[in-house]
């Protein structure tokens, strides 16, 4: 339907003020597994959360079988008879492929915000050329270089880019839901105004970024059922009845840029805490202190949302804007010893992770942590939730395990008293003072916490011994 697109040159259209892309991997965890197990192509596949609790990623075929997001494994286990393949979450693999994906995506635009393990925003503002063509090239590169399918949504604002991605994905997966030419790569900025409005009218308001299911009902009661309704709602009324955040969302739907990169309208699926350092950081203990703080902050957010994390990605990088400096950018994804919101475990993992990444002689400009595999604290049963959530709230702000060995020891002692001697040896003892490798941490976690990871695939890209076997 070429009529949908504004004919170039038909009307003197202003050059787009801004153009933002959201790049999103399709069924990311499942897609990562398929890269190294090609026999899983076309089959119903799900990835289970830590402890093999519930489905956190589903192939399209698994969706067609009726597996819901977050559905407990015991409920869909019977579908194995119909070919369903279930795998334990292999966060080391997903973290590495995510890192590669973000690095590739970042090379396509001057500015990038990594939003979650499988999503990033790119800011094409000021970049000449057809941004949709750039989006297609990026998508093709992710497919060719990594074997990962993705969709790209483009729009003048972050909210519209996010919506464009939803359109691109839906049109690809469910033919007929949106015009077919918007599948895979969709630029809402290139749509004629009435075509855009028709599309917004076909989109439930709950699909708009930042509109949670919770306020959906309240919006419905106000007669705001679609994205178009929200776009046309009176901003002042939205602010008065709901929030300034929702007002901004409505303005963004109109194409007015209210959110910059790193601004968010709502809760995240992954928790990312990172910072660019004012001055380059060159010492490991400074980095560890920073990472410990980031992890503490992430733990606070996690508890606030009533969630537990299954794994943590730690990353650091030098400044690409200082080409005279030796460049180093690295990340590592470490499984946590059981789903947790415990500040001490998270801080400890971050501190160990950064020690593995750090290379002396570099001037580090940015570092951070990202929590993955989030699940509701209730999902793993009351005992686990209590274990993780009962910590005093004020502990988080004061955690400095690297510098304050006494405090760390006191924490360890307290934990060991409560949960049995050796509980906290997981982190410190394994490698005789050397940091644990990710795989060892996973094994230690399995052994000590009785983690169920019966379906774990090898760490193909992060452990030498786990290399894929190719028949010669």
């Amino acid at each position: 339907m070429p009529a949908l697109l504004a004919a170039p040159g038909a009307a003197p259209r202003r050059a787009p003020v801004s153009s933002i892309a959201l790049v999103d991997g399709n069924n990311f965890y499942v897609s990562c597994e398929r890269v190294f197990r090609p026999a899983l192509a076309g089959k119903p596949v799900i990835v289970l959360s830590n402890n093999d609790g519930c489905a956190i990623s589903r192939s399209n075929e698994a969706k067609a079988l009726g597996v819901r997001m977050g559905q407990p494994w015991f409920q869909c286990r019977a579908l194995q008879a119909r070919g369903l393949v279930a795998l334990s979450a292999n966060f080391a693999l997903y973290g590495d492929l995510s890192d590669r994906m973000m690095s590739i995506a970042g090379s396509f635009a001057p500015r990038q915000e990594v939003y979650s393990i499988d999503e990033c925003f790119l800011d094409f503002t000021g970049v000449p050329g057809d941004h949709r063509a750039i989006g297609r090239a990026l998508r093709a590169r992710l497919q060719q270089w990594l074997g990962l399918p993705s969709c790209v949504g483009l729009g003048p604002t972050k909210t519209l880019a996010k919506l464009a991605n939803h359109v691109a994905k839906s049109a690809e997966r469910k033919p007929g839901s949106y015009p077919a030419e918007l599948a895979s790569v969709c630029d809402l900025g290139q749509l004629a105004p009435d075509a855009l409005d028709a599309l917004l009218a076909a989109t439930p308001v709950a699909e708009v970024w930042g509109v949670g299911r919770r306020i959906e009902a309240a919006l419905q009661a106000q007669g705001i059922a679609t994205a178009l309704d929200l776009k046309r709602a009176d901003p002042a009324a939205l602010r008065a009845r709901f929030s300034v955040v929702l007002e901004k969302t409505a303005r963004e739907l109109r194409g007015l840029r209210c959110l910059d990169l790193d601004d968010q309208p709502g809760p995240r699926q992954q928790i990312l805490v990172s910072r660019s350092f004012g001055d380059p950081v060159t010492r490991l203990d400074d980095l560890q202190q920073a990472l410990s703080r980031f992890a503490s902050r992430a733990a606070e957010k996690l508890r606030l949302d009533g969630q537990l994390a299954g794994a943590m990605t730690v990353f650091l990088r030098t400044s690409p804007f200082r080409p005279q400096d030796a460049q180093h950018s690295a990340s590592i994804t470490l499984p946590l010893p059981g789903p947790t919101a415990d500040t001490r475990k998270l801080a400890d993992t971050a501190v160990r992770g950064i020690a593995q990444l750090f290379r002396p002689g570099h001037r580090y400009a940015k570092a951070g942590v990202m929590l993955l595999g989030l699940e509701a604290a209730g999902a793993q049963g009351a005992a686990q939730a209590e274990l993780s959530l009962e910590l005093p709230e004020d502990h988080a702000g004061h955690s400095r395990p690297t510098r304050d060995a006494g405090r760390l020891m006191a924490s360890m002692d307290a934990l060991n008293r409560r949960f049995g001697a050796g509980t906290l040896r997981v982190a410190a003892a394994g490698g005789g003072g050397h940091p644990l490798r990710a795989g060892e941490a996973a094994e230690a976690g399995r052994a000590r916490w009785g983690m169920r990871r019966e379906r774990l695939t090898p760490q193909y890209t992060t452990r030498w011994g786990d290399r894929v076997v190719v028949r010669g």
């Binding site: 090609p38 760490q459 030498w464 011994g465 786990d466 290399r467 894929v468 076997v469 190719v470 010669g472």
Partner: protein, 157 residues
């Protein structure tokens, strides 16, 4: 590569060294645009820089089987696979055939792909009707180890 017969990067003159300007040239230079890394002094050779042209697109795999023996790829070797390289006739590739990874030499004749073994006891693989052959990546290097890779083999140690 050749050395320039004259200095390229004079260091700034220090007031107290005015009588003895320092000219420094301790690098072999590539013809063309001078390397901006010149000022950093010598860096140890990094095999990653040599073996990994596209870091994001590069993966390692372990070879099992002897079908590529005459191409120098033996059981237990590690192949460095670069997915950013466009597969072409004559290249050694990792392909997916019947859902399995296989390393073979790619033959493209009249647009029809075949996978050739480098060992006379293995037949060529030719996709028939309804079969799919996917080129997963191009084998850029083969690493052959003559000593155990201690501490690198993961579980086994």
């Amino acid at each position: 590569m050749y050395s320039l017969p004259y200095p390229l990067h004079p260091q700034p003159l220090q007031p107290d060294a005015a009588s003895r300007p320092v000219w420094q040239l301790d690098q072999t230079l590539r013809a063309g645009f001078p390397s901006p890394a010149l000022d950093e002094g010598a860096r140890r050779i990094d095999l990653n820089e040599v073996l990994v042209r596209h870091p994001e697109a590069t993966f390692v795999m372990r070879v099992a089987g002897d079908s590529m023996r005459e191409a120098g790829i033996d059981e237990g070797d590690t192949v460095v696979v670069d997915r950013a390289i466009r597969p072409a006739h004559g290249m050694v590739v990792v392909a997916v055939f019947d859902g399995e990874f296989t390393v073979k030499r790619l033959e493209l004749r009249a647009g029809r792909p075949r996978l050739l073994a480098a060992n006379p006891s293995y037949p060529a693989i030719e996709p028939r009707e309804g079969q799919t052959l996917e080129i997963w990546g191009v084998v850029a290097h083969c690493i052959k180890s003559f000593v155990p890779m201690e501490g690198k083999s993961g579980r086994a140690g």
